[in-house]
């Protein structure tokens, strides 16, 4: 028999909105932008594959270089505007610090151990586990780096400070590629974590 208190706890934590509408909307818009950018970006990489391998054309978006560039320079607006809005909303609502910090290495290790036992999200759905915090901060940082290095590739003359910080045009090209690789690595891990905790998917669709 559950005490009334416990029932109230369960009720509270399963029916209160955890992920507000703006967050869910921005998450899915971001997912769309990232997929379009990665697939078209692969085609652009193939035009001059500086790492010695090409990405199979069937996996890419755009048909040819000009088409891929058009997709890339259209989807970049979605990523940048949506990303700025996301960061602003997170900062202004205080969600960023409430949800992501503090982040201690010990907690991360503890959560990795818990994850190995198949437990990815906290019982208290209003909290991220340290592993979630790390993973989400990782993807946010990767996307910020992608936008900044992309800005240098697009407008290398107009952003001299950013360009020099990223090692010049050729440096920025490599930073852009490896930040993309980080996003691509994150993707299956993210899907796996969701697959093992379907509740998280539900939270990102209906908010509760």
């Amino acid at each position: 028999m559950l005490s009334l208190k416990k029932k109230a706890f369960v009720r509270k934590h399963s029916s209160a909105i955890v992920n507000p509408l703006w967050l869910r909307l921005m998450h899915w818009l971001n997912a769309l932008a990232v997929i379009l950018l990665v697939l078209s970006g692969w085609r652009i990489y193939d035009a001059s594959p500086f790492l010695g391998f090409v990405i199979p054309k069937e996996l890419t978006l755009g048909g040819w270089l000009a088409g891929a560039l058009q997709w890339h320079f259209a989807a970049m607006w979605l990523l940048a505007i949506n990303g700025i809005a996301y960061l602003l909303c997170n900062l202004l609502t205080g969600r960023l610090f409430k949800k992501f910090f503090p982040l201690s290495p010990r907690e991360v290790l503890k959560d990795i151990a818990a994850a190995l036992r198949g437990k990815f999200i906290s019982d208290d759905l209003t909290r991220y586990t340290a592993m979630q915090r790390t993973a989400y901060l990782f993807i946010i940082a990767s996307l910020v780096i992608l936008v900044l290095s992309g800005l240098v590739l697009w407008k290398s003359v107009q952003f001299p400070l950013l360009r020099e910080m990223l090692g010049g045009y050729e440096g920025a090209r490599r930073v852009h590629f490896f930040a993309m690789a980080a996003v691509v690595v994150f993707f299956p891990i993210h899907l796996l974590m969701v697959a093992l905790s379907p509740r998280a998917l539900l939270l990102m669709i209906r908010g509760r």
Partner: protein
């Protein structure tokens, strides 16, 4: 909390969750208006699939992407700072050998006779007479080592010399309030640039490469070199130029590459 109470707490949470979902779904399914709306949207979706070619066909996606590309031209014009210089490099950093790049192979590089060459100047300019190479070489010359960035992603450093294009435009009495300068080339290539880029101090009507007369593979006898633009915006083998307010487009630009194409 002890071990015994943990399990029922979880399953109870799951039950609550299931009940919640049923309630949410129920809202969708049991309300008659919702049902009708659902049916309508399904029908619309089905229609969209059936007549896919007219609702979201390839053409409308292409048109949307082209519209965004034109919007990007405007954003780039706004971002373009006419006083911001592209980085320059020491002689030791020049890429050896500098790559040849064109829409044709090395065997098809146009052969142009120096004596026959005239640069034709038309459009919104006061002085429409043609120029010989000798006359062009007599104008004040500048020299710079800059990075050429190709739209394919690669880049290479080279040394180009010639007349500052702004000097030339003033010399021919070009209307500097006009929007575009267009170029026609001996290899059937054509392109055009915005006036602010034409007047940029590093935009050079190029006569030399690495201190020598411009070799055929790099655009003999005349090339426009702009370190603020991608490679395809830098025309080679120029034989005609004109100042205009109507966007003349370009060989690659008309096929979908971004018109501004600048960095």
């Amino acid at each position: 909390m002890n071990e015994h109470s943990k399990k029922p707490l979880l399953s109870s949470a799951n039950e609550t969750l299931l009940r919640d979902i049923r309630k949410d779904m129920g809202r969708f399914i049991h309300q008659p208006q919702r049902r009708i709306f659902l049916q309508h949207s399904l029908t619309l979706g089905g229609l969209a699939l059936l007549s896919g070619c007219t609702v979201v066909d390839e053409n409308s996606i292409e048109n949307a992407l082209m519209a965004i590309s034109r919007f990007n031209d405007k954003v780039q014009a706004l971002l373009f700072d006419p006083n911001r210089l592209a980085p320059t490099y020491p002689q030791s950093m020049i890429t050896q050998p500098f790559p040849f790049n064109a829409f044709y192979g090395k065997n098809n590089i146009p052969e142009i006779e120096e004596e026959d060459f005239r640069l034709e100047v038309t459009g919104m300019v006061a002085d429409k007479r043609s120029w010989t190479l000798k006359e062009l070489r007599a104008l004040p010359q500048v020299d710079q080592i800059t990075r050429l960035i190709c739209v394919e992603g690669w880049s290479a450093i080279g040394r180009w010399g010639g007349i500052q294009f702004s000097t030339f435009l003033r010399r021919i009495g070009a209307d500097l309030t006009a929007k575009y300068v267009g170029f026609k080339c001996a290899d059937e290539y054509y392109t055009s640039i915005d006036m602010p880029t034409a007047l940029h101090p590093q935009t050079i009507l190029t006569l030399t490469y690495n201190g020598e007369m411009l070799p055929p593979q790099y655009g003999f006898p005349l090339k426009l070199r702009m370190p603020t633009k991608l490679g395809y915006k830098n025309p080679k083998h120029i034989h005609a130029m004109f100042v205009t307010n109507v966007n003349p487009g370009g060989y690659w630009e008309d096929q979908g590459y971004n018109w501004f194409g600048g960095s």
